[in-house]
């Protein structure tokens, strides 16, 4: 049933689905955008953390006497206390502040913490050894679908193999942290966060646990985050350092800045769990997949983690016999945080790589094999279409060859693919859209722009609704005192915020129309807003410019309210998408060095709002995928229990020369009726599996674990 809130029909969209410059682009390009790290408040103090050097132990003494004598020292607060058990190196013990950054570092260096050390374990890949260290617990043992024994009997070809990928860390360029200014009863927090609206309650709760502070009301906390420098799932909470920073501000009566150092950021503020597994997979001669069996294990720190959703995408429970066992490895490393599409990238590697190996075993072109089994997925038609489109983009027909490039010379070329899915259900959101008598329009909500384009998408929605242009709209987000909207995680933001904004804008426009209708002498229902005018559809000569229309408001400002979800608010969004990616790589078999020639990505997200920012999200996902497919991994030393590469030299990320050519196709028009669906997670899932499959195709053997470093590639070649 159509409602007035529905998205305009395709022919009526002048801005939705088109290319637009990012509205916050100039401010960022000028270096004027103020991030939390950039706040310099009058009289501000600088705080540093003191963290644990031991991976496991008990605090038996904290001596701050020397630190308190350091020049410029202003105060410290304990985060953990004598008697507390430390579970990972880098664990936060106290925060200390001083008048300058240099003095804060001096003071932090002068703190002495004494530990009673306890046995630690930081390794996860060798599950046998981890078991001997008593670090392994069963986490899952699920059997689904048709009888497994029968399925194996019916299989004409089976592949058994070992696959996996190590731990990576978020490495947000703006580290976690904040500036807190606690003045009187008002606590202002400039936080680098993905959850502006959630932080007040989080901080208030954390502070209220401290008896010396007493109950703090969430309403007294004001979070301000117009810009933030990367989160990727790691910045939802105030964290210990945020609470400590607030306490220091209260204690000293000054604003305090506490941003993590790079090594702290990598050790404790990020972390995507590993996954390793022995996978067995089987199919009939014609390529019909019949069974998938896995024993996987992984770590996400001391608490372990959930199990990956395997088999991934190809998981029809009526037709595919499946058994998944998972073991949890408990390690003394910084705890895992959500990373774009939690568990899915790992599941893609553990499914798409064995599938490609099975296609090779069957002597089938993987494109045909993946398409043939599309009925085992939740959206067969989407995937078949996307596989064909992506194959065309990468030149699969011309370039694909059977396993092992038979060409001369040390450089071998290969193609590989993977596919993925994600929900992206919109989060709850409330919005106020204001129309001023001077024609000004603002969109107001406590959301945040992580760099995905929220300023731009909301501008587009309001401008489209009012028949205005993007510069006519002011978007106010990044403050917790605005109407509440959800945290930005799980690809939920664009669906939630565009819906609440659309509804608020339509409601505001209705009010304006009723005012204009009177002055034009027409029915409000007869009015339309387009091209900077409000006019009668029945008689276009009855028309007012937007500004003249708004003047009719006199002194009144219209405030339109909108929310998500809204049962009567029309069909504006949905969840559940599919995507396909294909990689074209070269491998130097003498050095084991993999380079990217091209990656192609096809992605369905329902209705695209801002095409260019959508594409940017996919480009970014592919580049991050190149990073974890080829370069990045957190490396821990068992003897000392420390992370050896908490830096940006040996925690390797790709540069501009490492990414090859990237081509992105957003599916537009086909699924617009579903409404808006998030884009942050889906394209971040497949790159690793697609690249690994391309390498296998190039060199003729599987490199079992990611990242595909030269030593791993050479070892795979040698073992072949």
């Amino acid at each position: 049933m159509a409602t007035k809130y529905d998205w305009p029909a395709a022919e009526d969209r002048s801005l939705i689905g088109k290319r637009h410059n990012r509205v916050d682009g100039p401010e960022k390009a000028r270096g004027d955008a103020k991030y939390s790290y950039d706040r310099n408040l009058d009289g501000m103090l600088v705080a540093r953390l003191v963290t644990s050097e031991v991976p496991h132990g008990r605090i038996i003494g904290i001596d701050t006497s020397a630190a308190e004598k350091v020049k410029g020292y202003k105060g410290h607060v304990n985060i953990q206390n004598v008697g507390d058990e430390i579970q990972w190196a880098g664990s936060e013990i106290l925060a200390i502040c001083a008048d300058t950054e240099e003095h804060a570092r001096d003071a932090a260096a002068a703190v002495n913490v004494h530990f009673e050390t306890l046995p630690h374990w930081v390794k996860d890949e060798d599950v046998k050894k981890a078991g001997e260290a008593n670090r392994v617990k069963p986490a899952k043992d699920d059997t689904k679908g048709p009888d497994l024994d029968e399925a194996w009997k019916s299989a004409d070809a089976t592949v058994e193999g070992y696959y996996g990928l190590g731990i990576i860390t978020h490495c947000c360029l703006e580290p976690h942290g904040q500036v807190v200014d606690w003045t009187g009863d008002e606590i202002t927090v400039y936080a680098s966060t993905q959850a502006v609206a959630r932080i007040p309650a989080d901080l208030a709760k954390g502070l209220s646990r401290d008896e010396s502070i007493g109950t703090v009301a969430a309403e007294s906390v004001h979070v301000i985050t117009p810009y933030m420098g990367g989160g990727f799932g790691s910045k939802f909470n105030i964290d210990t350092w945020g609470i400590a920073c607030a306490k220091l501000s209260k204690k000293t009566g000054k604003p305090v800045k506490l941003m993590l150092d790079r090594d702290e950021e990598l050790k404790v503020a990020g972390g995507r769990p590993s996954d390793y597994g022995n996978i067995k997979i089987g199919a009939k001669k014609d390529g019909t997949l019949v069974a998938y069996e896995s024993e996987t294990w992984s770590t996400g720190g001391i608490a372990g983690r959930g199990s990956p959703p395997v088999p991934y995408v190809y998981n029809n429970e009526e037709r595919l016999a499946q058994k998944a066992r998972h073991l949890n490895v408990s390690t003394n490393i910084g705890p895992a945080r959500a990373w774009r599409a939690p568990n899915h990238p790992q599941a893609a590697v553990l499914t798409m790589c064995p599938m490609e190996d099975l296609a090779a075993e069957l002597d089938m072109d993987p494109v045909e094999f993946f398409k043939k089994n599309a009925d085992l997925t939740a959206r067969p038609e989407v995937y078949r279409y996307e596989i064909d489109k992506c194959a065309e983009m990468i030149g699969w027909k011309d370039k694909w060859h059977k396993r092992g490039d038979s060409g001369d010379g040390p450089v071998k070329r290969g193609l590989g693919l993977s596919l993925h899915t994600w929900g992206g259900r919109p989060h709850d959101s409330t919005c106020e859209v204001r129309i001023q008598p001077d024609g000004g329009v603002s969109v107001n909500m406590a959301s945040q722009d992580l760099g995905v384009g929220t300023y731009t998408t909301l501008s587009v929605i309001a401008a489209e609704t009012f028949g205005l242009q993007i510069p006519d709209i002011t978007v106010n987000i990044g403050s917790s005192r605005l109407p509440i909207s959800g945290a930005s995680g799980g690809s939920t933001t664009v669906g939630g915020t565009t819906a609440s904004t659309r509804r608020a804008a339509v409601n505001a426009l209705d009010e304006l129309k009723s005012v204009v209708a009177e002055s034009l002498g027409v029915e409000a229902d007869d009015l339309a807003a387009k091209d900077g005018k409000i006019f009668a559809k029945s008689d276009t000569s009855k028309s007012l410019s937007w500004n003249d229309a708004c003047k009719k408001l006199g002194n009144r400002t219209i405030t339109g309210h909108g929310k998500q979800p809204d049962r009567n608010g029309g069909k504006l969004n949905d969840s559940g998408v599919g995507g396909v990616q294909m990689a074209d790589v070269s491998v130097d078999v003498e050095t084991g060095i993999v380079s990217i020639n091209k990656i192609a990505a096809v992605q369905d997200v329902g209705l695209v709002i801002c095409l260019e920012q959508c594409e940017s999200q996919v480009y970014g996902s592919l580049i991050q995928g190149v990073a974890w497919a080829l370069y990045e991994e957190s490396i821990y030393d068992q003897t000392t229990g420390t992370m050896l590469n908490p830096d940006m030299e040996f925690y390797k990320l790709p540069g501009a020369a490492d990414i090859g050519e990237l081509e992105v196709h957003m599916v537009q028009g086909k699924y617009d009726d579903r409404g808006v669906i998030g884009i942050g997670e889906p394209p971040a899932i497949s790159p690793g599996a697609a690249i690994s499959n391309a390498v296998a195709n190039a060199i003729g053997v599987r490199v079992p674990t990611l990242p595909l470093t030269p030593d791993r590639v050479l070892a795979a070649l040698e073992n072949a």
Binding site: L173, G229, L450
Partner: protein
Amino acid sequence: MSSNKPHDGPGEGPRYGPRKGFSRRTFIEGVGIGAGAVGALGAADQARAATNEVVGPDPVSITLSINGKTHKLDVEPRVTLIDALRNMLDHTGAKKVCDRATCGACTVIVDGSPVYSCTMLAIEAEGRRIETIEGISSDDAMHPVQVQFVEHDAQQCGFCTPGLVMAGKAIADRNPRPSMADVESGLCGNICRCGTYVGVRKAVYEAARESA
């Protein structure tokens, strides 16, 4: 926190001279320096060089030339240029990310070359021409590199952007027709985490031609 603030001229804020016992730390006094060196050194530097004085560890009064303006400030010798810019002069465009001469977020241009400001002591930047992101555009017009960054959506979270813009400007300043390989080389000292390189490469390639 007055010692942490720049002061505009004599009489404002504390001034730190050489430490007591200065004369014992003077190795060669009154030695002239060659004309070539004079040209390369600022006035304060010449004075310091001519006396070979030991300064610090207490704050030292220095003068920095940033975007054509001179700034006087008192810095401990260990203060890096990035920290002086961000913490003392509120020039927060350049970002501190790796703080180890790897990621390029702190890139500024010194005497025409891109440098990592996290890895240069502020005291060593005295007498040199420092350009920061704040100085390359006017209120009315952005630098072509900045314009093209917006045109090609060469940014997401934007935290790496100022460093990449400055690295891009350094490319454009030196080469009006860089190849894509030249662009990639010129940007290789900068790392973006969101993954904006597709737009960044195009932006710098186009901007160099435009600003030629």
